[in-house]
């Protein structure tokens, strides 16, 4: 009985995986077919695999540069947001701050507006206001890292709130009675229990930062360009270079997969959203 159930489940998951992977397989096909072949007829199989697009992309120093930028921006932002989010959520959870529910709700509103119109003021700020001498925040990685906090921080706070709320305040108080200071409370009481939640926060904020396009495209030029804006460059008036774009997109999956692979185990025991009460 259990065996056949296992086989059924396995069969189901194989089927589900095929559906999930089908568009990604197609992305691979686009990247590995010659253009004439691609537009010739719709064929799921590749007659002759051409690695030209991959070779061109990998050996392109610009691509390497963009990739590095993306990794730096996403990782730094993720770490920054997770840390700041933890502190902020702890404050909201444990301290009797005036209007904290309103503040809590307000943070998420930063993430609600369609971003297009906000580009102009940000462009102005980055090129004219946030400057020191001739240095501008425009076209810098730190510029993106700070900006992404605007929509990643609220996300982190909302995810972590439930988890931290679920940790009984009595534990904190017990530790304080034992003479622990704030830092020790955070690292010894909160962190171990919240670690899975922090892992989830880290990876989801990383993914959002990694995939962000609009702000990166507007607020960077040549130096701090990320890989998603690199993808958009292939879309031009005379035509879209589907093959190169697909190859780049496939290669972009790799760091994301690596990150996911590392953090994945923690996710399972992660988010609780306050579901559990003692």
């Amino acid at each position: 009985m259990r065996r056949s159930r296992s086989i059924l489940t396995l069969a189901f998951w194989c089927g589900a995986s095929v559906i999930t992977l089908f568009p990604i397989y197609w992305l691979f096909v686009i990247s590995a077919k010659s253009r004439a072949d691609l537009f010739g007829r719709p064929s799921l199989l590749i007659d002759s695999v051409t690695w030209d697009n991959y070779i061109a992309t990998l050996s392109n120093p610009v691509f390497q540069h963009y990739m590095l930028n993306s990794i730096v921006v996403a990782t730094c932002n993720s770490l920054l947001v997770t840390t700041m989010g933890l502190l902020a959520t702890y404050a909201l959870s444990r301290y009797p701050l005036v209007g904290k529910e309103n503040i809590f709700f307000w943070t998420i509103t930063n993430r609600m507006a369609p971003p297009a119109v906000f580009l102009l003021p940000l462009f102005l700020l980055y090129t004219q206001a946030f400057t020191i001498g001739t240095w501008k925040l425009y076209d810098t990685r730190i510029g993106l890292i700070l900006l992404y906090c605007v929509f990643n921080l609220p996300f982190a706070i909302w995810i972590l709130r439930g988890i931290i709320d679920a940790i009984p305040k009595e534990l904190d108080e017990a530790a304080m009675v034992d003479g622990a200071n704030l830092w020790q409370i955070l690292t010894r009481v909160i962190l171990p229990v919240a670690r899975p939640g922090l892992a989830v926060t880290a990876i989801l904020t990383w993914v959002f930062a990694w995939n962000e396009y609009l702000f990166a495209a507007t607020l960077t030029s040549v130096h701090a360009r990320t890989i998603t804006t690199g993808l958009a460059e292939f879309v031009t008036v005379t035509g879209t270079n589907w093959g190169l774009m697909a190859a780049t997109a496939m290669l972009t999956l790799i760091p994301a997969l690596v990150f996911l692979g590392i953090v994945q185990r923690h996710i399972v025991a992660g988010l609780t959203f306050g579901a559990v009460k003692e």
Partner: protein, 293 residues
Amino acid sequence: MRSQRTGWLLLAPTLVILFIFGVVPFIYVLVTSFTHWNAFASDPTPRFAGVDNYRQVVFDTQFLYSVWITLRFAFFVVVSEMVLGYFLARLMMANFPLKGFFRTIHALPLMVAPIAVGATWRLLTVPGLGPLPYLLEQVFGIDYRIGSFPNQAFITTVIMDIWHWTPLVTLTMLAALSSLPKEPFEQAQIDGANRFQIFWHITLPYLRPAILATVFIRMMDALRTVDEVWMLTGGGPAAATRYIGLYIWRVVFPKTDYGYGAAISLITLYLTIVLCWLLYVSLVARKEKKGVD
């Protein structure tokens, strides 16, 4: 020593960053929404316009239509993803070989950049090039042309979104399910409750906060969808997939109508806040209710 001061200090970095990079631009946009400002009008300078832009929105049938189809889109997408995501998470709770492997595969769509998602689905659906039209015709006899048939395009954007974002729901639901306490379930089984009763009276209440928070986030993002749909249809056929995000994009970028673009962005923001507030209120109400138990 729960002094207010320590609390504010912990919160300070967050508030500072959100203020500088979030509130300041917002104020700029707010002010802009009260001006007539188009970069290529015969008078390209910003001119004070009172609430003219907002008044214009009421008569803007195109925008209102966009709001309608976006709400429709968000509804289908969020409901489908929640149901599917929950179902898949439930299945993942069981033990079967290669569980971790399948979990990774299932999370893959989340890792693909929205532009690439749109590009992939675009190439999947072009007749003569993509496999979908061919397969649909051969197997089901459907004439699949999303450039000509609005309903088909709409459905395709829904499916594309489901493909892309269900893993987010699955993962969060999985996490929530993993942390359910065992005792209530064991007790219920001893008491002879059937599956449905267990689900309705025990599982759901425990999961409600997680469910509502996920719905929240997915709904917010669905209402702002741009990149994927832009690549797939450009908003077409006609206005069938011209969701709010795309409409605003069109107004702000090629049309350079900054004043009006600001106004409709803020209206969208307000709309989203209202919808989310309604959800949030139910979340808080439930919490308080549980506290009473």
